[in-house]
């Protein structure tokens, strides 16, 4: 299991390819499920020009490790990779990657969704958007 918090843009697809070749045993994981969250240029009816993602260093990693470990155990995953951006982002940049690896598809699909939902509701990240009219904190996540 690997958790990473990046202050710079990253390529989630390359990260998955690299992780598979460096961490996964050949022929073991029959299923890989991947979720990538990307910054939009709109929210709640407004154009969004940029965003700053703040986090709580130390607690972020601790919380992510706990929730990923829980899903690995619950779904008997072979492995999981989570990467999350912080700092200043522009629309089109990727925010989050959740990749899960298991013998069969159900565990990988279910765990990927579960990790993503747990991350959104418990990992200490906060978004502040830049609009043409100024800045605002995002107060709640979208439902799904």
């Amino acid at each position: 299991m690997t958790i990473e918090v990046f202050e710079h843009p990253f390529d989630p697809w390359q990260a998955v390819a690299d992780y598979r070749s460096s961490h996964l045993a050949i022929g073991k994981s029959g299923a890989s499920a991947v979720f990538v969250g990307t910054m939009r240029d709109f929210n709640e009816g407004d154009d969004v020009q940029a965003m700053v993602l703040e986090h709580y260093p130390g607690m972020t990693e601790k919380q992510l490790q706990a929730l990923v470990n829980q899903s690995i155990s619950a779904h008997n995953l072979d492995d999981a990779l989570v990467i999350h951006r912080v700092g200043e982002l522009k629309p089109g940049e990727d925010i989050v990657l959740v990749a899960t690896f298991s013998a069969h598809r159900k565990a990988a699909f279910d765990a990927c969704r579960e990790i993503m939902e747990a991350l959104k509701s418990t990992a200490p990240f906060w978004k502040k958007e830049t609009l043409a009219s100024g800045e605002r904190w995002v107060e709640k996540n979208t439902a799904g």
């Binding site: 703040e54 986090h55 709580y56 959104k120 990992a123 200490p124 990240f125 906060w126 904190w137």
Partner: protein, 76 residues
């Protein structure tokens, strides 16, 4: 005898500080820490972490603890 207090996101802006240290004397719970550090009533939507783990507002704190206050999280 002190408690390290941290604020994040909109609460950091509301308080005007990211971190401060308060005297632990007379402090029993995270709610006491908030009141002492902010001079405001606790907002029930606010989240609390003690030593980087989620905790209830009425959880007991100890000398040397790091107590953080922040709004609902919005990552992902």
């Amino acid at each position: 005898m002190s408690i390290n207090v941290r604020f994040f996101a909109s609460l950091k802006e509301r308080i005007g500080s990211a971190a401060l240290e308060i005297d632990a004397q007379g402090i029993t719970t995270a709610r006491d820490v908030w009141t002492s550090a902010s001079g405001q009533e606790a907002d029930e939507e606010m989240l609390v972490a003690i030593n980087k783990e989620y905790a209830a507002l009425d959880r007991t704190v100890a000398d040397g603890d790091e107590v953080a206050f922040f709004p609902p999280v919005t990552g992902g």
